[in-house]
């Protein structure tokens, strides 16, 4: 190739690189997560049940971090939403409802999965931390919507039970960047615990529906 032609090609390529650099400054850097993780890897140490693998992000976590506080792009969000929906396992015996009293204890319990918690004990759901559930427990949080009269307002049809089960199991299948943990997909609650929480929401005797 003639040296002059090569020179012209190089010159032509320069503006492309410049534009790319400016653009990267304006939108969230694609490796913002990687940069955060590199710092965190050097800044944390495993303790108790919380190993360093807790810093690894899955696709949902990565997508919802990268653009935050802005919402992720619709196309990528739809894919991750579908992947979370596909995670849901319905109850093996087809029964959605357990014992609402046990469900209430699970809803009150905030411990579970922290390095300060006993890993041999079952985790709580900590529902009251974010949701109003009934009129007895007034020490409830407001990050999530009120669930008072949840079952009373919805009835107990099969599709409705299935929907609620799926939301408890993996809320990211409905609102991709929801603040709510994926209690089933992430193995926080067992199938029986999920049934008990379902009963808390749906049982006519539960304080939620009084």
């Amino acid at each position: 190739m003639h040296p002059l032609i090569r020179y012209v090609i190089v010159l032509a390529a320069v503006p492309v690189f410049t534009t790319a650099a400016v653009h990267a400054h304006k939108s969230p850097s694609p490796d913002r997560n990687a940069q955060a993780k590199a710092v965190m890897e050097a800044s944390f140490q495993a303790k108790g049940q919380a190993g360093m693998d807790r810093l690894d992000q899955d696709k949902t976590q990565a997508l919802c971090s990268l653009h935050a506080p802005a919402a992720p792009p619709a196309g990528a969000a739809a894919k991750v939403l579908a992947a979370n929906q596909a995670m849901v396992k319905l109850p093996s015996d087809g029964k959605f409802l357990g014992d609402w009293k046990r469900g209430q204890a699970i809803a009150e319990e905030g411990k579970g999965e922290q390095y300060s918690d006993d890993p041999t004990k079952p985790s709580g759901g900590n529902c009251y931390a974010c949701h109003e559930l009934d009129k007895q427990q007034i020490a409830y949080g407001t990050i999530g919507p009120s669930l008072y009269h949840y079952g009373k307002n919805r009835g107990r049809s099969e599709p409705m039970l299935k929907l609620t089960w799926s939301m408890l199991y993996d809320m990211k299948g409905y609102t991709v960047c929801s603040a709510m943990p994926r209690f089933g997909s992430k193995g926080i609650l067992t199938e029986q615990q999920l049934k008990d929480v379902m009963a808390l929401l749906y049982d006519p005797d539960s304080p939620v529906n009084k």
Partner: protein, 276 residues
């Protein structure tokens, strides 16, 4: 001083009783729109943190370590050697001697270890006091921050490393991970929310919540009976996020503090504060 401590003990007794009823009495919570604020008001000017501040003052002036020097004669918190007035309101910042951005805690550690020749492992082992085992770092933190009372938080981020720390702090603030998918923003990304009865400040960007929160740390934590610093606060948030343990003086702690401090810019320091 004797009188002051006597008065403190009196108030602490009252508050210990109130704490018990706070946990037990839902009725009170129903009638009081912000029980934590009422509870705080009961202390008036009597913040037990004064005990930490006084001990911190002694520690600051004491000749210690293998290098036989006081912090007052050797420690530069960014305003010049020995100067503490206003120092906290301009931290974290870049320090040329360590070539790092440092927050108050990591800088105090540098001063004690490199400046005074004290044993790093021993200081870190005692970083969070408990009962009779008091932390030098927490006492020094109370003393240093007290000297910024009324000073406006200001971080110009002039050094590229300071800008970098802010950007990384922001990335960490929004970084979701762990069994529960939580990031700092899961709890601190909206205005006017609470967890159980505890109000959650919105710390995701500049604003009143960001200013009021940052300006009142370090703080005397009534439920723990100790003065805690921002590094303790951030570390305990990460525990609840189900992440591993945050290392004291680590880059993530400093970067995140930089993000929170910058968002609090313009707020006037009012620490040590008083927290539930």
């Amino acid at each position: 001083m004797r009188l002051k401590i006597g008065k403190l003990t009196f108030w602490l007794t009252i508050v210990a009783g109130a704490g018990t009823s706070l946990a037990g009495s839902l009725v009170w919570a129903q009638t009081a729109p912000d029980p934590v604020a009422e509870y705080r008001a009961m202390f008036g000017d009597d913040n037990p943190a004064v005990l930490w501040t006084l001990r911190g003052q002694d520690l600051w002036k004491e000749v210690r370590g293998s290098k036989h020097v006081s912090l007052a004669k050797s420690c530069d918190l960014g305003m010049g050697t020995g100067i503490i007035k206003g120092a906290y309101a301009h931290l974290p910042r870049y320090f040329a001697d360590t070539k790092k951005v440092q927050d108050m805690e990591s800088r105090l550690l540098t001063c004690m270890v490199d400046g005074q020749g004290m044993d790093k492992a021993a200081i870190l082992k005692n970083r969070f006091g408990e009962g009779d085992r008091k932390s030098d770092l927490e006492a020094l933190a109370a003393y240093v921050v007290d000297a910024s009372n009324g000073v406006a938080i200001s971080l110009p981020l002039e050094h590229p490393e300071e800008k970098r720390a802010y950007a990384l702090g922001k990335a960490i603030f929004f970084y979701r991970a762990g069994t529960h998918d939580f990031s700092c923003a899961s709890c601190h990304g909206q205005v006017g929310k609470r967890i159980r009865l505890q109000q959650l400040p919105d710390l995701a960007g500049p604003g009143k919540d960001a200013r009021d929160t940052y300006a009142t740390w370090p703080a005397y934590r009534v439920s723990q009976g100790e003065v805690r610093t921002m590094e303790w606060r951030i570390g305990d948030c990460f525990r609840q996020q189900r992440l591993p343990q945050l290392k004291y003086g680590s880059e993530a702690a400093i970067d995140l503090t930089m993000f929170l401090a910058k968002n609090a810019e313009g707020g006037k320091m009012a620490a040590p504060g008083l927290k539930r």
